[in-house]
Amino acid sequence: MSTPSVSVESVTKRFAGHTAVSDLSLQVPSGGIYGLLGPNGAGKSTTIRLIMSILQPDEGRIALFGDGRNSRDLSARIGYLPEERGLYKKMKVLDHLVFLGEVKGIARNDARQRAQAWLERLEIAGWAQKKVEDLSKGMQQKVQFAGSLLHEPELVILDEPFSGLDPINAQAMKDIVVEIAAGGRTVLFSTHVMEQAERMCDRVAIIARGKLVVNGTVAQVKADFGGRHVALGFAHDRHQADAILADPRLVARLDDYGASAELKMADGADPGQLLAALVGAGVGLRRFEVVEPSLHAIFVAKVGADPDATPLPAVAGASA
């Protein structure tokens, strides 16, 4: 594997009162989509800010592209969408994008053309001459998203890029992210929505309380989690299943959604046993499938089950 795009080595960052990131190491390889997952307050944004040199680590070091310089010196190669969206409210949309391009070192005329193209692609070209404050939140987010990609960076760092977007816009953004990765560039994004990460990411790192919990390719993470997993869908008589699902001889862990459930079989238990028990109890099943564990299940198992890992209240300046 070539030089990693981002290399975080034993980084610790403390804020007054708590440790946001604790001895964290991770490597984002060049190319592909890397998901940084974790509950609120896990240290995702702090990690990203450390990578962006907005914060300085108390311990450890961070390297980008294997280069000793910090992200600002390499800013022409990096695109960044912060979690806290911020644009100059009084500026016109097009002017703003041109400005964001210029501070990344693109010539003014070039920046203008690219900005125009992005606005068309995101279907907000009609708003180019409007002030930012006249746009909806979702549109502002699209503008900022475009602003972080204007200079065609080889590394794109997106902090919670899909939060606050409606499904259609989220889909449009997802398409762009996938396209960037398909072009051989690297995307690092943080999220707490596991389904999204599972579908998009080549690699993931799950962090909780500032510490790395799981790290690797999605397939590898699932394989390492081990065990046999069953996905259930209920048609009727759901309550009849309660006793069976609570039986520790059959079920090691249950992730219950009401109308559906995902569970990990207990060691030595057989899915056939479970099916027989459910059918015998008269539970109407819509689905019974032996599956790979979902990232969500892994996430909940690794993070949620640990009572110390309950989401921390979001602290300003150090949240997520």
């Binding site: 600002r72 912060p82 911020g86 002017d95 501070v103």
Partner: protein
């Protein structure tokens, strides 16, 4: 460098394009015009002669020459001259003096538009007046020192004339002897006449100092507000990953500063047009050439203008950078205002020092202050306008200001860089020091 320029352009264009900028730019010249024209219009109506009743109880015929002297006094000279007083003699004697005087005083203060019976003032000459020079004046304008001085001068002239006549001196000779001295002043620089009067050039330097003072107070703080707003809008998270704090703040100080300078440039330009076109404008407002004369702005030699502009611009920017540093330290405007007092204080020290320099512009105080970047923009123009400043001193002073400006922005950048994400927490002085060294 290009990035800094992008920031400068953004700050400048976004400011100049606002409606508020346009309105304030247009409104001030309108006010200036009104301020220039209104007093002239009012004064041209107000230059009416004062009606003075002269009660002569001197017994020595003093009343007649006093009335003659008052009637001879005029506003302005030459063709535009208009009588300053309209004096009427009321003969009296020691017995009737009180009665006559009180009767006239009862009508005093109603002169304006109140017909023939009202008086602006009553002047009483008694038996002692000729010998002792003591006399009384009762009027509604006694609180005007200028008016009283003039009146006293006119009466003194008449008294001196009468005294000399009594001593047998020829009346024509008296008139000649009493002709007043009239002094014009002119400034000399390096052995050459500059053609300006000393008073006029100090007035210019003072005017510039005052303008700078106003400009810093009103505009300088915009840099502060702008820095704080940006911190709160959190766009700086994107910016800090692309720009150095120095680039960001330098762009801000210059961009915001240039917007302010543009507006002031428009205003000063308007003032000059008003000044040079004064007579035409006055004509348009139906005023005489005399009134127009009040518009005239003293002419400025190009060197003086260049020095003024340099110091004004640098002074304006240096204070802008100070405000930026304060903005970098604080999270709210309220908090910043506490620190901004220090800036205001140093502006005031600089501004007040101008008056201390009038007597000794080339002294130690003046020279020292010329080398302190915060005071130089006030001190140097005064020195330049009043004496010859050695070119080395000028160059050193300007150089130090540029260094001061850069140092200030650099310092602000150091604070900004660290303070940027410390929302909601006010740094202690110790922390500030650590941020600067970090």
């Amino acid at each position: 460098m290009n990035k800094t320029f992008a920031v400068i352009r953004r700050e400048y264009v976004e400011r100049v394009r606002t409606r508020a900028f346009l309105i304030s730019t247009l409104l001030l010249p309108v006010f200036m015009l009104a301020m220039a024209v209104l007093p002239v219009l009012l004064m041209s109506g107000g230059d009416h002669g004062s009606r003075v009743a002269v009660v002569d109880a001197s017994g020595s015929g003093l009343g007649q020459p006093v009335v003659a002297a008052l009637d001879a006094a005029t506003f302005d000279d030459g063709k535009a001259a208009r009588p300053r007083y309209e004096a009427t003699l009321f003969p009296a004697d020691a017995a009737s003096l009180g009665q006559v005087r009180d009767g006239l005083i009862a009508k005093a203060g109603f002169a304006k538009g109140k017909g023939q019976d009202g008086w602006d003032g009553v002047l009483v000459l008694d038996a002692d007046t000729l010998a002792s020079g003591k006399l009384h004046y009762y009027g509604d304008n006694v609180s005007s020192p200028d008016g009283m001085n003039r009146l006293q001068r006119e009466v003194s002239k008449a008294l001196a004339g009468v005294r000399l006549a009594h001593a047998g001196v020829d009346q024509a000779l008296v008139t000649k002897a009493m002709a007043p001295a009239d002094m014009d002043t002119a400034k000399v620089t390096d052995g050459k006449l500059t053609g300006q009067s000393g008073e006029a050039s100090f007035a210019l330097a003072y005017g510039m100092g005052f303008l700078l003072y106003i400009a810093i107070i009103t505009y300088g703080s915009r840099t502060l507000v702008s820095v704080i707003e940006e911190k709160n809008s959190r766009i700086m998270e994107v910016l800090t990953s692309s720009l150095t704090p120095f680039q960001m703040l330098m762009g801000k100080v210059l961009g915001v500063g240039l917007a302010g300078l543009t507006q002031m440039g428009i205003w000063v330009g308007t003032a000059f047009v008003l000044g040079s076109q004064g007579p035409h404008l006055a004509g348009a407002f139906g005023m005489g050439a005399d009134a127009a004369g009040k518009f005239v702005i003293p002419s400025m030699p190009p060197a003086l203008l260049v020095v003024f502009l340099l110091y004004f611009t640098l002074g304006f920017l240096i204070y802008g950078s100070l405000y930026a540093a304060i903005g970098a330290m604080c999270n709210t405007i309220q908090e910043a205002q506490q620190y901004a007092v220090f800036v205001t204080m140093s502006i005031l020290v600089g501004f007040m020092s101008m008056f201390g320099l009038i007597n000794d512009p080339a002294g130690t105080l003046g020279t020292t202050m010329s080398f302190i970047p915060l005071f130089a923009p006030f001190t140097m123009p005064v020195r330049w306008s009043m004496t010859a400043v050695p070119p080395m001193q000028l160059a050193l002073s300007l150089g130090l200001m540029v260094v001061g400006l850069l140092a200030c922005v650099w310092l602000a950048g150091r604070i900004y860089r660290t303070g940027i994400l410390m929302y909601g927490k006010k740094p202690t002085w110790g922390e500030l020091w650590r941020w600067i060294r970090a």
